[in-house]
Amino acid sequence: MQSYSMSDTTSEPNSRIVSFRGGGFAPKPLRFVGFIVFAVIISIAEWGTRAGWISALTLPKPSDVLQTFHELYVSGLLFKHLNPSLTRLAVGAAIGASAGISVGILIGLFSYIRSGLVPVIAAIFPIPKIALLPLFVIWFGIDEGSKYALIALGTFTPTAVATYGAVDNVDRTLIRMGQSFGLSWFSIVRKIVLPGAMPGILSGLRVSLAIAIILLVAAEMLGAEYGIGAYVLEAGSLYDLERLFAGVVILSLLGVLVSTAIGVIERHLLGWRS
């Protein structure tokens, strides 16, 4: 047998080793890299604001933002703002997502509902929901109702679109299999269509829950004394950059948290994917 040498040249005359040209195109998650990027950005901001080549009007000192955040926590105001916001987010997103999933499944299953509702959803989707807030205040009241409605409507459309796309992508041979074994219509939907659509539904939820957080701030523009959105908007109008950034950081963390939670659910529910 011929042995292969590691160098570029071989003992065999007039021959060379075939160079490697495969690999790549397969990104892997490297957790620490994300932290390093955050740390670098924050240190540059800290350095710039301290050294003075970033003016105090452009960006607050990250250490000051942290200080503000600390004060917010110590004074107990943090939870006074966080609690109503989280409730609004949870209630609104739950209503919107469950309505979106139900309607999406119906669109995926029935010709009439599909033909009737797909244009309606296409018409609702591009409307900036924030523009409808005054209307919602009249319809659902200045209290929590209008806030729930705004967040629910904003999460409904992307969830419905993702869900019916996911139902369309369920392997038809599995449905034929269910029919060939005499499974009832309801069993086929519950045991084949729904789990088959789950990957698409969850990736749709990633998008729609991020939209829900955006709309949370919008919802707290009118008639909210407490809430992260109200806090951020108030700081913005007073040009209090430290408080503005402290609020923004909370919203970002909320987004990361929601995304992580969906990741956990995906690992739990979608372990069957190859």
């Binding site: 041979t173 599995l174 034929r176 299999m177 269910g178 029919q179 060939s180 074994f181 005499g182 499974l183 009832s184 069993s187 045991k191 084949i192 789990p195 979608l270 372990g271 069957w272 994917r273 190859s274």
Partner: protein, 255 residues
């Protein structure tokens, strides 16, 4: 229970795929349907099992299915059609749940069919962990669980490599010898047809008509790999089909 096909003709949007097929599938026999691609053999199988309506003609069940039969006409698909989110045992359980069979009774049936298909050690494995041959064994176990009167097999071994195919053919033969089942077995592979078929139905190219029926009397258990008698049959079948297959291959597809 026998199956009788009476004058089945079928066309898709005015495009004739099969014409006047009359065929008896006797109880306890394996009937293989072979033919060039596009002759409508898979469509015929879907018609037999009620997944598609023929344009003309009808399919009759003659006699009663066995008493504990949950699903008289049961398919085995080419691409296995296993739910990827259920384990091997869960996939079998799926077809029992709708008949209200749960708990100990379900476990007894699942263990029995997994044992018959040599899968007991893989009961908790997900489809993604199983090889192609194993997946098709799970599908066979699932079909056995409903105790079918007739198994409708649509190219069940075509997605497998040739060695796995040999192994599974042996398994099917031993399953049949242990408890003879009725089957309609659609394939384009003549070696499978002569190994497993008591009766081989040769269809012509589109529109598919019955060109010839070949009966092989040699018992399934005596049929060996590269058996000279079977090779004679296979050669004869290929002669019947060759020109049709060539013409079918040269046809344009209508999609």
């Amino acid at each position: 229970m026998d199956i009788r096909l009476e004058n089945i003709s079928h066309s898709y949007d005015g495009f004739e795929v099969m014409r006047d097929i009359t065929l008896d599938i006797p109880d306890g026999r394996i009937v293989c349907i072979v033919g060039p691609s596009g002759c409508g053999k898979s469509t015929l199988l879907r018609i037999i099992g009620g997944l598609e309506r023929p344009s003309q003609g009808r399919v009759l069940q003659v006699g009663e299915p066995p008493e504990d039969c949950l699903n008289p006409l049961t398919y085995i698909f080419q691409d296995f059609a296993l739910l990827p989110w259920r384990t091997a045992a869960g996939n079998v359980s799926l077809v029992l749940e709708d008949h209200g069979i749960r708990g100990a009774e379900a476990r007894r049936i699942i263990d029995d069919v997994l044992e018959r298909t040599k899968l007991l050690d893989f009961a908790k494995a997900l489809p993604k962990q199983l090889s192609g041959g194993m997946k098709q064994r799970v599908a066979i176990a699932r079909a056995l669980a409903v105790n079918p009167a007739v198994m409708l097999m649509d190219e069940p071994l075509s997605a497998l490599d040739s060695q796995t195919r040999e192994l599974l053919m042996d398994d099917l033969i031993s399953l049949w010898e242990r408890q003879p089942f009725t089957a309609v077995y659609v394939t384009h592979n003549l070696a499978e047809a002569v190994r497993l078929g008591h009766l081989i139905v040769v269809l012509s190219r589109r529109p598919g008509e019955i060109r010839e029926m070949v009966q092989i009397d040699k018992p399934l258990g005596d049929r060996q790999f590269s058996d000279s008698e079977l090779e004679e049959y296979q050669k004869y079948l290929w002669q019947l089909m060759r020109d049709e297959a060539r013409a079918a291959d040269a046809e344009l597809l209508h999609v």
